[in-house]
Symmetry: C2
Subunit: 645 residues, 2 copies
């Protein structure tokens, strides 16, 4: 029939394999169930199997090639024990494979590192080697890297050291700082697969462009100019549209703090790697929570800046050209200082002269200082926060509830004000963003107006998501097929226009609600930021699907608590608060379900499974208020004793 | 059949009426030819005629109602003579109907006015009365107003005077400054028709919204807070998508300096009114040249800011929700100082807290100062400009060529540098924006991805442009039907996404070309701005269609020289340079056509017809460089002796 390579198989991992999921998913060879989602995919089982051999071979080859780049002296003496024996591979577990000096270096945050490298106390080379070693260990433990270029990194570090010797000063403010990158950044010498088997050996799926392994994204150029060392690219879920990290090349990326759980997504590899301190700071992207979710699930600081603050130019993406809600790029790190350091660095390069979507807003020290000055006045009551404990659709699980309480108490202890946040309907926000939350599901709604390829009017080869799968014939992971598996007609221009208008009207309504809180705060100003959950659970359970069936199945990740921030284009940072304690975070016996989905969230909470997992909240500020959001997050983090996590 | 009110007639004004166009178009009763553009509009001639009676009656009633708001003592004693007898109605012609004091006030620019009103020398009332009087005269001469609210304005002015007496200080920086508004702004007490007969008595075409004559646009609220006086709303072409100003309510707005010519569009009423000094400063909008074209055609300063600099919130619009190229709001005035004054004023109100699309970029005095400091150093060579004399598609007419030469010579006389501007293909820019320039016409291309209503999949009632016509059954003006008259399928999400990507890639290419000029300027920086034409002619000829036939017919206005600025989202101001002098600006005998359209532009130039018309160029700066563009424009305007025009 010859149509196979046009329409990919939409398959799902068998629901009954969850008990063995850990081992099965660690390789691309996991078992798959060929129940085809729609009869509209016309091809035979035989064609399947031939094609699957193709993509499996290609994926395994790529995976083996990358893993072979780990020097033999950095290989683990034996495989990591299963999660049932070794739930947490952070801290003392990973330290056993490192020298004292390597531990000292890699457990210093980015601010501390550049203090030493720009001051000449530490060489870029020893810093880079230490992080390469730790990243190699991290990858062997949780499967978090797509590309490894340790050799090139160490060579760059040596050049920087030579520069320092020759000039007696650092190259730039990030001199010798290792920075990891989500596998959407193009870096010379390596590929960008973004988890697609079909992108192996290509530039964004195309061969012979002349850009393969040569072209670099704008931000990569700027990071190099600042003196940063690039050394690896981290794992993502194929399509980027999931809160878990899974693809057919590397398999599944686990949460290092609790290997029963997902590391989050789509910047999941970043979260896992930085949590293991295999990198001090890295960059992810966020269109619905993809920076904040992995930052939170891994107990890290991360910020989703407003769109147009940092340069996305020259990066690979899903659904490029969809501009109702833009994906944004932002950092994840072990301290708020790390995030400020790299954002300030990038903005000092005037990215608005090289990225048409970046607004000319330099780093504004004065906005950070304004917050610090207020607080310095002492006596309390200088700041005001809104507290949002959930929304109309979902009640967070007990550990998340407790984390919110901890933050509220911390704010109050500092003497500041907290008011209940009673905003315009968040259910409406999800409806506008067309999130496939079951209780809001509408016929013909699309996740972010996704341009679908399967309309008869459309050239299927030109539409990114399905075309990317079609290149190799690889199957979609079940987390993705719940979003993309179904054949639908494309949105029309009128429909998109109506969505854009609805979005703007909702933003207006929300900003006026925010303005109106000035009468409640006692500070004379509206609230300075909102304290809110960013997911209903501390981390996603890979086996969460078993808590529902068929149409009513719980989605792997509910973006309902994160995506309103994207719709509103607000600046939002994660604040790591605590870890799950099974002795404290018991199942809520008095729970009353809001709806069927909410009940499934409730049912999926198991203190035994979650014990030890990170719990974080988000601090949400207004559009382009990155400086203020980071200042507030740092104040709260310091008060929680988490200056560096 | 009952479908008439769903599908409007797309009609065109007879081509053979151009000799009498002036008089015919002055009323909505002009003759029309019922050649229906497409057989897909299903209705009978009979239904036409019934509906036409309806819209004609409604239009005439509205027109009469507004005109009746002109006090009898301000009515012209007799109609203005035809253009053949009185080509120019500005200056001494209009002055004959005004007192010395009224002339003194109305011929002071906005900066001078607020100096007097905030200093207490002039009352807001006498200033307002003087401008209301002059605006009433202007309207009777060139048909430039949609809404008149002189009484409310004078009452507001009296309140301001009382405030001043009570507090001994002005209400705000625009205290007592009359500001005119294009008929897209909602102002309490009056309607917004935007030229649609079907919008009479409604709020944007809807009845019973509770917003009728009550709701105010965000910027209107801010202007009031600043102390500005709103007194009239100015004419637009229906749909806003034309470089001429014509609709079925007020008819045609003529160019006051040369009544053979168009006043431009779509902010045409603003251009005509301010040119007659019936307003010191006003606000228009620009999606393809709609601020710059009327500013230029009327010898005024105007600026198209980058999108997101000034608040568009709560304004009526065409094709709302189309967000590939956004319409922006910006001022037109008689001095650069006027533009700075109102922009600085609006930004001081922090519009980003009330409009979700406004970026948090306050007025940056330091950017203006940086330019002034450079120039102060003296000795020449501090600034560098690119000169663009046309593009691949069109050669400007002799007066525009001369104006460009005048500006280049002025720059060189000041000692600054001018380099030839050799940018990426402007033809490509037009192709991306899908401008229906004949030489670039592609099947199924859309002007700004316009959401068309006629697809069978679409609810026709919800699509703005045709639905607005359908409300009354009124016909489209020929200038509009060339863009909207044809039935086409809607763009799909994939197509829009591809356009958005192409736009961004072009922006990137262009900005890197701009960056590259740093090696040519001798200043160490890339060029500070581009000097460019914004239309191939000093003003459009309403009879320009006669210079071509059928498919090859010249469009009323060629947006090819203005729309690249919108695609690139650059800040661009108009610089009035000279007037056409038939003794100097002779037909270019050595002309060689670039293409058929270009030849028609050439053929349409007639020194006799154009004599006396304003000629302007545009000064184009980078995105969000409004302060710099205005500073440069002021330096050039001063050097040309046009501090106030």
């Amino acid at each position: 029939m010859g149509t196979f390579r046009t329409y990919p198989a939409a398959i799902k991992i068998k629901d009954d394999i969850n008990s063995e999921l850990h081992h099965l998913l660690l390789s691309p060879k996991y078992q798959i169930d060929f129940s085809i989602v729609s009869p509209l995919y016309h091809y035979s089982i035989l064609q399947h199997e031939i094609a699957i051999m193709d993509w499996k071979t290609a994926a395994q080859k790529k995976c083996d090639f990358v893993n072979a780049l780990i020097p033999s002296e950095w290989r683990l003496p034996s495989p990591v024990p299963p999660a049932s024996e070794q739930r947490d591979v952070t801290g003392v577990y990973i330290q056993q494979f490192l020298s004292e000096r390597e531990i000292e270096i890699t457990e210093t945050d980015a601010v501390g590192i550049v203090k030493h490298t720009t001051g000449g106390e530490w060489t870029a080379t020893e810093v880079t080697q230490a992080f390469c070693h730790r990243a190699a260990l991290a990858h062997q433990m949780v499967n978090c890297l797509h590309e490894i270029f340790f050799e090139a990194a160490i060579a760059e570090a040596q050049k920087l050291d030579n520069y320092y010797k020759a000039h007696g000063k650092p190259l730039g403010p990030l001199h010798g700082l290792p920075v990891s990158l989500k596998d959407q950044f193009h870096v010379k010498g390596v590929e960008t697969t973004m988890g697609y088997v079909g992108w192996i050996g290509t530039f964004e799926g195309q061969k012979g462009t002349g850009k393969e392994k040569v072209f670099e994204s704008e931000m990569v150029r700027e990071l190099r100019e600042l003196g940063a060392i690039l050394f690896c690219k981290t794992s993502v879920p194929h399509t980027l549209m999931a809160g878990e990290t899974v693809n057919n090349i590397i398999g599944y990326t686990w949460n290092p703090k609790n290997r029963n759980l997902a590391c989050g997504g789509s910047s999941g590899g970043e979260g896992a790697l930085i949590s293991l301190k295999g990198s001090p700071v890295g960059f992810g992207t966020d269109i619905g929570g993809s920076i904040r979710i992995p930052a939170a699930f891994n107990g890290l600081y991360g910020i989703r800046p407003s769109s147009g603050r940092l340069p996305y130019e020259g990066m690979a993406n899903s659904m490029d050209g969809q501009n109702t809600i833009l994906s944004v790029v932002g950092p994840i790190g072990t301290s708020v200082g790390a995030l400020k350091l790299v954002i300030k660095g990038i903005l000092s390069r005037e990215p608005w002269l090289h990225d048409p979507l970046v607004a000319e807003i330099p780093w504004r020290d004065e906005q950070e200082q304004a917050v610090l000055e207020l607080v310095k006045q002492g006596g309390g009551g200088q700041l005001a926060f809104g507290i949002m404990r959930g929304d109309e659709n979902v009640t967070p699980q007990p550990p998340v509830k407790r984390a919110l309480d901890v933050v509220v108490k911390t704010v109050e202890k500092l003497g500041h004000k907290v008011i209940e946040w009673k905003p315009p309907s968040h259910a409406k926000a999800l409806e506008i963003a067309a999130i496939p939350n079951l209780d809001l599901r509408r016929r013909n709604r699309r996740f972010y107006n996704a341009p679908f390829p399967l309309s008869k009017h459309t050239n299927t080869n030109k539409t990114p998501v399905h075309a990317a799968f079609a290149l190799s014939g690889e199957p979609m992971a079940s987390q993705i097929s719940s979003v993309y598996g179904e054949r639908k007609e494309e949105y029309t221009a009128s429909r998109i226009a109506a969505t854009n208008v609805a979005k703007r009207q909702f933003q207006k309504e929300y900003m006026e609600y925010w303005n109106s809180t000035s009468s409640l705060t006692g500070t004379g100003r509206p609230v300075d930021a909102i304290i809110a959950p960013l997911a209903p659970f501390p981390a996603a359970r890979p086996d969460i699907a078993k808590f529902g069936k068929g149409e009513n199945k719980l989605k792997r990740i509910m973006p309902g608590l994160s995506v309103w921030v994207n719709l509103l284009d607000y600046a939002a940072a994660t604040l790591p608060v605590t870890t799950v304690d099974k002795a404290v975070d018991k199942v809520d016996e008095g729970y009353v379900p809001l709806n069927g989905q909410d009940e499934k969230v409730h049912l999926s909470y198991d203190p035994e499974v979650y014990d030890g997992a990170h719990v974080a909240v988000q601090i949400v500020g207004r559009r382009f208020q990155e400086e203020k959001v980071l200042a507030l997050t740092e104040i709260l983090g310091d008060a929680l004793g988490k200056h560096v996590v």
